[in-house]
Amino acid sequence: MQIVLQLIINAIIAGSVYALVASGLTFIYATSRIFHLAHGVVILLGGYVFHYVWVVLGFSPALAAVCAIVVSVATGLIMNELVYETQRKRKAKRMAYLISTIALLMIGNALVLLLFGSSLKAFSVQTEVYRFFDLNITLMQIILIIVSTLLLLTLSFIVKKTKFGKAMRATADNEEVAEVMGIKTRDIRRLSFLVGSLLGAIAGILIGLEFNLDPNMGVYLAIKGFTAMVIGGVGSIGGAIFGAFIVGLFEQIAVWFFGAGWKNSMAFVLLFFFLLLRPQGLFGMRKFK
């Protein structure tokens, strides 16, 4: 029983980071219809810049966080502007976007490796360990869950209540008619990339603090975020967040039964399972095309 509870707590910790990734991806997908796998690079940069400015250069963690967010968001916006918008002008097909996002992911990954090296980066932040009924949770982990929850609540408020949120949903629903209403959908897409990349940057920082940084995690996180999206039904932010916790939970189960080496493969197992048997996801109305 205690083990089950500890597994659930660990799943919530991992799930709250994946939820930031998945909701950012959904935000971007909703307005641009792009599966922005290169989001992995944005997350990776968030973690690595944060580590570099804080641990290597020795500045304060607050300044490091600001630098990390600026670099990540700029990277996301530049990718959109230089690659996706250029393709959009040429009326590119979906396949073209998919190939270019994979290319961006690989190039970005290689650049991060080149700039920061291939060794694991650790922050060695020691925080207090709390024990509830023989369950362990660190202060860092509590902060991580709170930060993620607050961000997701803010995001859902923005989407539901603000003018930008409504314009974003209108654009996602019907881009052509949104234009007829005077919405500049190109600006809405830019803002989505900004918000999505911001969430990605923060996810990168939190991952670094909690799990250490390794250059492969960009690819894995993009796949995990994508899997969470598919589980929840592509396009629904609530669904993506739910999917993120499912991914987190299955990873913990795999680690417990088969060992830590199986952790990263669970996202692929879930992805295949859903694409084959339930492509519309758990909450999706339409079939994922």
């Binding site: 003018k163 409504k166 314009a167 949903r169 209108a170 996602a172 629903d173 019907n174 052509e176 008619v177 949104a178 234009e179 007829v180 209403m181 005077g182 919405i183 500049k184």
Partner: protein, 234 residues
């Protein structure tokens, strides 16, 4: 005269659709644009709404040249457009759809007042304000699409086949509302397939075929035996 389209030629990229189109709409006037499939009726509306490539001619609105204005500029000048096919934002509620219609309004009070005015025009939308617009019936969705365009209080409202897919009873309902809008001072330019039906309501009409205006005149002139046949067959 409110809108004057002068010698307009337009199309999509290399595809030329309209050739030397001249058309006038005045305040409080209900004008219909009829013609066979592929005549370019929708293209006339889309040309006004910055969705085509214009190769010649110009469009004057309220004395201002609006030929090359972008969408938000057109809305600010007072041109409204209801695209074909009851295209509401189906995942948004009725009220959110209307708010998006007023997206360019700067003041919250103006938005609220206009929202109230739309609800008075279409009471059923007020009843269903919290419902997802995808769950509305066809007729209600068409009312929502029109109401959404009314949020900016346009001087001219262009509608692309508002009767499409509606039952005869609902068609009459929609056109009764349009007629009331015209009486209140809004000019209307309507593309319609259902010729006999539309001519019953409108003041004037233009018959378009092969991208050119073939006949224009009052509704009673257009309704005369033979006028249509000659244009469709020529």
């Amino acid at each position: 005269m409110l809108m004057h389209i002068e010698n307009l030629s337009a199309g999509y990229g290399d595809l030329h659709v309209l050739e030397d189109v001249n058309l006038v709409v005045d305040s409080s006037e209900m004008v219909v644009l009829i013609g066979p499939n592929g005549a370019g009726k929708s293209t006339v509306l889309k040309s006004v709404y910055a969705m085509t490539t214009k190769t010649a001619g110009r469009i004057l609105f309220d004395g201002i040249d609006i030929t090359h204005l972008p969408t938000h500029g057109l809305i600010e000048q007072g041109v409204g457009y209801v695209p074909q096919g009851r295209q509401v934002f189906s995942s948004l509620t009725v009220e959110e759809n209307l708010e998006i219609g007023g997206y360019l309004l700067d003041h919250k009070e103006t938005c609220r007042a206009n929202l109230q005015h739309v609800y008075e025009t279409f009471p059923v939308l007020c009843e269903k304000r919290r419902e997802l617009s995808g769950n509305l019936s066809g007729g209600q969705q068409q009312q929502l699409a029109i109401g959404r365009a009314l949020m900016t209080q346009p001087k001219l409202l262009m509608l692309d086949e508002p009767s499409l897919g509606l039952s005869p009873k609902l068609m009459h309902e929609v056109f009764e509302v349009l007629k009331r809008l015209a009486q209140e001072g809004t000019a209307l330019l309507i593309v319609e397939q259902n010729v006999r039906f539309a001519l019953h309501y409108v003041d004037r009409g233009y018959l378009l075929a092969g991208g050119r205006i073939k006949v224009s005149g009052s509704a009673s002139e257009l309704a005369k035996e033979g006028v249509m046949q000659s244009a469709y067959l020529s």
